[in-house]
Symmetry: C2
Subunit: 536 residues, 2 copies
């Protein structure tokens, strides 16, 4: 066979690694990588951590330089080159450095940042996506306590706020919607804001930038909901849009959000054209529908598949769970799978407040797991984990549980590694699986269901007088020990929900009530603590 | 129905939690817990960590006292009571405090420590299983640099050595077999010994205690393989034996190792008698055969099942993976599933050396994962993980992967959470899955297979001259770039194995060789580094 010509468009993460995988698959192919930037493969996700000085040198984020891909993988690397267009019939790409023909093309141009009109064009404004961005920001915050305004409270905004506050900057984080981190639950979002405030970030959610004050080309202050906020630097993290115009102009098919439609081989509708990087959508493992996660780990996976298949391989892309993790002050927030909405009709949730390690061991911290599962099949379909220790472990285990189609009773008995430095004998994962499993016996109520309950539902509070005094709640107080005396009332009741502090006694009460003949007994999952965190 | 009478025998972990679960299942039952010790439910696994002073008070390990089980769970707790016998026909237990009748009995008497004859009876000798043991040891090492001899290099011995060395004691660890931690691979065992030596432990494996010197009732020195080792204290961690005599005398059926035979309801052959704690064997998830793990997390799981079923429930015990984790100095070692032996005939392995987090992030450390999988079904069946950071996360993910019957290509694309403080964009788990997946294309050789290769196998070393110089190995040096020139030789070869430093270039070479028509091309998995760690 003649030598295969493979052209890869795009640097940073997906392009270079697709090229590397193509080489591993076909050692004779001619592989050309075209990238606009000077750096070939840098750690986009690592940029904020130089600002916090957890990374001591920007060079640490840029270890795989052009020479590495040239020498080790035999890739012809062309840096500082712009892509102009694709001719899918002639299989040619035109670039600022000339034209290239291909047998297979890997399109990996990623996404560009969106900059709100009101701040655009300012000299002291930067996104945080490239090494030059990083250098610019670093230059502008020479004074460690510089005032910085971050626009956009998604993953990048929260990471930037966290890292700049650690550095000592006076950070204002502006988010126009009422909640930060829109992938997460409202509870989680509020806790993230609280954690950022604890390290000094002025979090302004549901906020509008009404005006900006400029001096020459620089922004010196913003008017946020009427408040004057002086600033030395504006960092824009308010979202990205897929860079897919060139693909689309060549006749390539897009989803409505502008991302590229690929099949499970990462192939597009254009012959010989594969796509990867954060400009493609992935199939969601639970809903089976395309989802745009814009996550680096997804880009890395599609890069492997696109690179291998461009070189004649037959790799298949696994569906995504949209797993993600973010640090906000001392809090870590993580999610995976389906945690909200009604894509699964009988979605139920279970919540546990556990410990990351034995409570007697140093570093042990509280951990909150909210598990979503399908009430019909009993399979785990999503999870959210929050805490100050061991969050990454639990979310990864639960992502694996979803991939393995585990049922909640299997999660309850997962054989996880125990020794005091690492966990607890009954891991919070086992505990939340047990709680979920128990919802087959008695109904587990989510806080929102309690709020919209029908008027004929009995709401009985089985807490101790001391607990009731600490957090009053309008409900009938009933002692767990005297519940049996209420047999007649319970048998007549249409529906009863028991409230306790963290859910456990509520569950016991519901079981007793059911045993006494109450037709529909339930309890508030996570107890009144979960109710308070939901902050209706 | 009449009030159900449930008697639970045994304290520490399994007994009390079986009693608690019984109460959750039947709120009206009369539940009696009988235990020999004074403490009802203490953290056995936490004991060593008071010796290291990571736990500041023994009281921290003994939080669930009798009053808790009495008041919260309504259990009649009888401490300081010995069990004498069981009459299964009359359903009665006789104890030092009288006789108790039962409808259901939960047998949870755990195990007793084995003390080698040569040291038995000494006044300065202790096991490390109870709170009184802990106090005794602590009293004898008042001088922080006290000389301590630990006999037995299993989990308990390694933990004790690790913790006492952290405290400042001069520790000698004696193990009669050639390797510590017999559940682990020989490579892992050697690295554990090395890690303990680094923190000052005198590890003596394959050692024999030839004599002991006593002064009065105290041992003052041991003769170990001819060496005189003075000691202030002897800690015995040389194994346990199930405490099942009383059960057996009543006609209860045991396995050959003395553990109790239970079904998946934790029921024994005696009517109404359930068993839990580390005196029972569990079904292994991969081999389906009974295995005695003596792990606390397994005991906790069987306690839930035995307690629920004793109270009329219908819980089923999931099989075990024998997951375990242990700290040895700065090293963490963990294992799960089937990692050795031939219970699965076509067991293959893949190894990766990865990073726990992005290498630019503080705390990042090397991580070694050795994956076992079934070459026929491609399913993961076991794993061993070693490193100084993030070991617990990876072993738990892989235990979950085995439970979910994941294939190696699913592991290669698991959607794990990425952000620099927590991991790498391509987790070592993804990497080891990829390596395992690739063994379908070309054969992955384990170091031991290289050692026993047939004489007509070509062994070609594709490392750089510099790498070859650093670690010489007797093989034919071949440059990866010039491999195509060897086409004729490769086509004629019956079998060829390529050696590289960490496996990657070896894999590439094998693929090229296969493409050139070599019928059986393979590479050394984990490269010569894995060979060196195997230390033949």
């Amino acid at each position: 066979m003649a030598q295969r010509k493979i052209v890869v468009l795009g640097g940073a993460l997906a392009g270079p690694w697709a090229a590397a995988r193509a080489r591993e698959t076909d050692d004779r192919a001619k592989i050309t990588l075209v990238t606009r930037g000077r750096a070939v493969s840098y750690a986009v996700g690592g940029l904020p951590y130089f600002l916090s000085r957890e990374v001591s040198e920007p060079g640490e984020l840029n270890k795989q330089r052009a020479a590495f891909f040239r020498n080790y993988y035999g890739v012809d690397v062309q840096t500082g080159v712009d892509v102009k267009g694709i001719d899918p019939e002639k299989r040619r790409v035109s670039t600022s450095a000339g034209s290239l023909s291909y047998d297979a093309l890997v399109y990996a141009l990623g996404a560009r940042s969106l900059v709100p009109e009101i701040v655009s064009g300012a000299s002291n404004l930067s996104t945080l996506r490239t090494l030059p961005d990083l250098k610019k920001i670093d230059r502008l915050i020479k004074r460690k306590d510089a005032a910085v305004t971050i626009i956009g409270g998604g993953y990048y905004g929260v990471e930037a706020a966290d890292c700049l506050a650690r550095r000592g900057c006076r950070v204002t984080l502006v988010e126009k919607s009422p909640l930060l981190l829109s992938d997460f639950s409202p509870d989680a979002s509020r806790l993230a804001a609280e954690a950022l405030r604890k390290i000094g970030v002025d979090v302004r959610n549901g906020a509008t930038i009404e005006a900006v004050k400029r001096k020459g080309r620089a922004i010196t202050a913003l008017n946020i909901d009427g408040d004057h906020v002086a600033t030395k630097l504006v960092v824009v993290t308010s979202g990205v849009t897929p860079r897919t115009e060139i693909f689309s102009e060549a006749g390539g098919r897009l989803h409505r959000d502008g991302t590229i439609k690929v099949d499970d081989r990462c192939e597009t509708n254009l012959p010989g054209v594969f796509a990867t990087s954060i400009c493609v959508s992935h199939k969601h493992a639970v809903t089976k529908k395309p989802i745009w996660t814009a996550q680096a780990a997804d880009a890395d996976k599609s890069a492997q598949v696109a690179g291998e298949n461009a070189a004649g391989g037959s790799a298949k892309l696994a569906p995504t769970l949209g797993t993600s993790i973010v640090r906000a002050g001392s809090l870590t927030l993580a999610r995976t799978g389906l945690t909200r909405g009604d894509a699964v009709r009988e979605r139920e949730t279970a919540r546990v407040y556990g410990r990351s390690r034995d409570d007697f061991f140093p570093g042990s911290a509280e951990l909150t797991i909210t598990l979503s599962f399908d009430g019909r099949t009993r399979r785990v379909i999503g999870a959210e984990v929050l805490g100050e220790d061991g969050v990454d472990k639990r979310i990864d285990v639960l992502a694996t549980a979803i991939t393995g189609k585990l049922k909640v009773d299997q999660v309850a008995q997962l054989d996880l590694a125990y020794s005091p430095p690492y966990g607890t004998v009954r891991d919070p994962i086992n505990a939340v699986g047990t709680i979920a499993r128990q919802s087959e016996d008695v109904r587990a109520w989510a806080p929102v269901e309690l709020m919209i309950k029908t008027s004929d539902t009995l709401v009985w509070d089985v807490r101790t007088p001391k607990q009731r005094k600490a957090h009053p709640f309008a409900a009938t107080a009933v002692s767990l020990k005297k519940l049996r005396e209420k047999k007649r009332e319970l048998k007549k009741a249409k529906m009863v929900v028991f409230l306790s502090e963290d859910g456990r006694e509520g569950y016991l009460a519901a079981r007793i009530a059911k045993g006494l003949g109450c037709p529909d007994a339930g309890y508030l999952s996570g107890g009144l603590r979960a109710w308070r965190e939901a902050e209706f």
